[in-house]
Symmetry: C2
DNA sequence: GTGAAAGCGCTAACAC
DNA sequence: GTGTTAGCGCTTTCAC
C-alpha cells in the first residue's frame, strides 16, 4: 500500500511491484519492446496489469516520446453534413495508420480557429488539419511557422507556405453551369452562396459569372446567406420575395440546397420542371431530398487520404492538390424523372 | 543555443533563460499564479515567450496536474444529425466551464466503443460521455469501476451503477401515437425503427405496441433498418413492397424519416394526406423536409447541461435523469398545411 | 533477460 | 518577488 500517487491511479510502478519485476520490464511488455521479455515474466506482468486494472498514462507517454499518435482537425461547422463526412473520411484514413483524430469546431470564428490551432498544437498532435474559415495571410502566418505540420483542407487554391487540398471548385461550378445552361437551355441562373467558403472571390461565383460571360449574357440574381438549411431557405425566400427568381439556381452547398428546395416547394414551384437546381458537395443526404439533388460531388475519401500524406511527408515543400469533382445528375436539375433509380 | 530538447520545441527553460529569470517565474506568469510576479518581470517574460514563440506543453502540464480540462465524448454515429447537435450542445456547455471536448466515433461497434473509452480514459480526461451502443451489463461494467467518471447519454432508463440521462422516450412515442391515432382517426400505425437505439425492448416500440393495446387494436407492421437516411428509405420500400403500408407511420428517428419521406414520394404517396408520419428527435433539419417532419423533440441543451453536472458532481450516487420531450407538430402528420409558418 | 536511472516539460512547495 | 528542486508516469540507454 501507500504506493498510489496523487491521482489515485495505478501506475507502472504498482504493476512492477505486484509482478515482482522492474518498471522497465513492465514497459517492455506494454510496448512489446524495445527489449525482449521472458514469456513467463511477460505473462506475470500481464496478469498483474489485469489484476490492478492498469491503464498506461497517455500523457506521460506522450511527454516522454514527444508525440502522441494523434492529429487534430479543426472544422468550421459540424452541422454541415459535408464536413461531417469529411471528418469521417479523415478518421478512417488516419485509423489505417494507427492515428487518432481529435476534432474541434471553430464555429467559423477566426479567433476561435487560431486558439484551437494553438491548443491542439500544444497538445503535441502530430499534425493539424484546418478546414479554415479565414483566408487572411496574417492569420494563417502563425500556422506556417508554427511547430506542427499543418494542412489546409477544403481550399480551392494554393496558399503560400502551407500545403493544402481541395476540390477544383471552379471546374465543378462550371460543370454545373454548363449543365444548367446547355442541357436545359436556361438563360438565367441564380446563385445562392455565402462568404467564408472558398475565399474571396469564391471560385464558384467566378465560374458562375464566367458562365454568363461565355454565353454573352448578364449574370442572374445572387442571394447571400448562411451555409445552412436556414440560410438556403432564406436566400430562396429573398429571391422569391423580390420577384427575381431566375429560371434555375446554382446553390453553392448541399446544406443550403435543402433549404432552397423547401422554400421552392412552399412557393408551389415544381423544382425539376420550373426551376432546376444544381448544388455543390455531393453529400450522402443530398440523394434523399425531393427531388433528389443534382450536385457536384467532392471526392472526400481521396482528399482525406491525400491530406494525410501531405501531413506526413517529412520536409516536402508546401503544395496544393486540386481534386477533380464529378457532377452527379439526379432529379433537381430536371434531367431525370424521380423514380428512385439513383439510390445508393 | 544548444538548449533545444529532443522535440526541437521551445520549453519553459528556454524562455526562462531568454528572460533572465527562473523557470518557476515563467510558470507563474503562464498560469497567473500561484505566486505573484513583478509587473516588469512579467512583461519581460511575456516578451520572451512571444519572441521565442513559446507554446506550453499540454501533456507535461496534464501529467503534472493529473488532469487536462478535457472531457471525452463517444458518439455512435456522427452522420446522424441528432448526434451532431448533441455534440455541439455538449461542447457549448463544456466551454462555459473552460472544458474542452474530445470526440470519437465508435461507429456503433461495442468493441470500438470499449477501446475508445479506455483510450480516452488513459488520456486523463476529466470525464467521459458515452452515447453507448451496447446495453450489456458486462460491457458497461468496465466503465462503472473505471477510473474516469462516466455518464451515459441518450439512455431511456437508469443503468445500474452509472449515471445517465436521456429523453422520456416512452412518453414521447406515446404522444406520437396518440397524435396519430386520436387526431387523425388512424387505425393502423406502422413502425420504422432499428435495434441498438434505446435498448431492447426499445421504449419507442413498447409505446407503439401499447398504443394499439389501449385502442384494442392489433399492432401495425414493423420495418427494421439502419438508423440512417438509407435505412429509413429501405424500411419504407419494404413496407411498400410488401403491400403492407399502413395508414400512418411512426419513425423512430428523424434521420430515418428523411429516407422514409423520400420513399413515400417515390411511390406517389402524399405523405400528409395519405400516410401521416411522425418521427423522433426533433433535429434542426427535420423542419426542412417536404413535408416538414412532425417530430418528438429531445431537449438537447438541457440534457447536455445536466450530463455535465452529473459528471462533475463529486461522489454523488449514480442517477438517471429522464427529460420530458415535446411533440413538434409540423406538416408530415397532416395537421397543418405546408405554408412555411413553422420555420425557425 | 532484467534493472537502475536519467530525463521528457511542467507545477508548486519550499527556501531565500 | 524570485529561485531551487522534487516529482507527475513513462521510455530507453546502459549496466549487469
Amino acid at each position: 500500500m501507500a504506493s498510489r500517487k496523487q491521482s489515485g491511479r495505478i501506475t507502472r510502478e504498482d504493476v512492477a511491484r505486484h509482478a515482482g519485476v522492474s518498471t522497465a520490464v513492465v514497459s517492455y511488455v506494454v510496448n512489446e519492446g524495445p527489449r525482449g521479455v521472458a514469456p513467463e515474466t511477460a505473462a506475470r506482468v500481464r496478469a498483474s496489469m489485469r489484476a490492478l486494472r492498469y491503464q498506461p498514462n497517455f500523457n506521460a507517454r506522450a511527454l516522454k516520446r514527444g508525440s502522441n499518435q494523434t492529429i487534430g482537425l479543426i472544422l468550421r461547422d459540424s452541422l454541415n453534413p459535408f464536413f461531417t463526412e469529411f471528418y469521417l473520411a479523415i478518421e478512417r484514413a488516419a485509423a489505417e495508420q494507427g492515428l487518432r483524430v481529435v476534432v474541434a469546431d471553430s464555429h467559423g470564428d477566426p479567433d476561435m480557429e487560431q486558439q484551437l490551432a494553438t491548443e491542439l498544437s500544444s497538445r503535441q498532435v502530430e499534425g493539424l488539419f484546418l478546414m479554415s474559415t479565414t483566408q487572411s495571410q496574417e492569420q494563417l502566418a502563425g500556422l506556417r511557422d508554427g511547430i506542427v505540420p499543418t494542412v489546409l483542407l477544403d481550399r480551392p487554391a494554393p496558399y503560400p507556405g502551407l500545403s493544402s487540398i481541395g476540390p477544383d471548385a471552379y471546374a465543378g461550378a462550371t460543370a454545373a453551369m454548363e449543365h444548367l445552361m446547355a442541357m436545359h437551355h436556361v438563360a438565367s441562373v441564380g446563385l445562392i452562396i455565402n462568404s467564408g467558403g472558398f475565399g474571396d472571390p469564391d471560385p464558384r461565383r467566378v465560374a458562375w459569372e464566367d458562365g454568363f460571360a461565355n454565353a454573352g449574357l448578364a449574370p442572374g440574381p445572387v442571394a447571400v446567406n448562411d451555409w445552412s438549411n436556414l440560410g438556403g431557405y432564406r436566400a430562396a425566400k429573398e429571391l422569391l420575395g423580390n420577384g427575381t427568381l431566375p429560371d434555375s439556381l446554382f446553390v453553392a452547398s448541399d446544406h443550403q440546397a435543402v433549404g432552397v428546395i423547401r422554400a421552392l416547394h412552399e412557393a408551389g414551384i415544381d423544382v425539376a420542371r420550373d426551376c432546376p437546381v444544381v448544388s455543390f458537395d455531393g453529400t450522402l443526404s443530398s440523394a434523399y431530398t425531393w427531388p433528389a439533388l443534382t450536385s457536384v460531388r467532392q471526392p472526400v475519401e481521396a482528399m482525406a487520404r491525400q491530406a494525410l500524406e501531405l501531413l506526413q511527408d517529412p520536409g516536402a515543400s508546401p503544395m496544393h492538390h486540386a481534386f477533380a469533382v464529378e457532377l452527379i445528375v439526379r432529379e433537381s436539375c430536371g434531367c431525370v424523372l424521380p423514380d428512385g433509380q439513383d439510390r445508393q
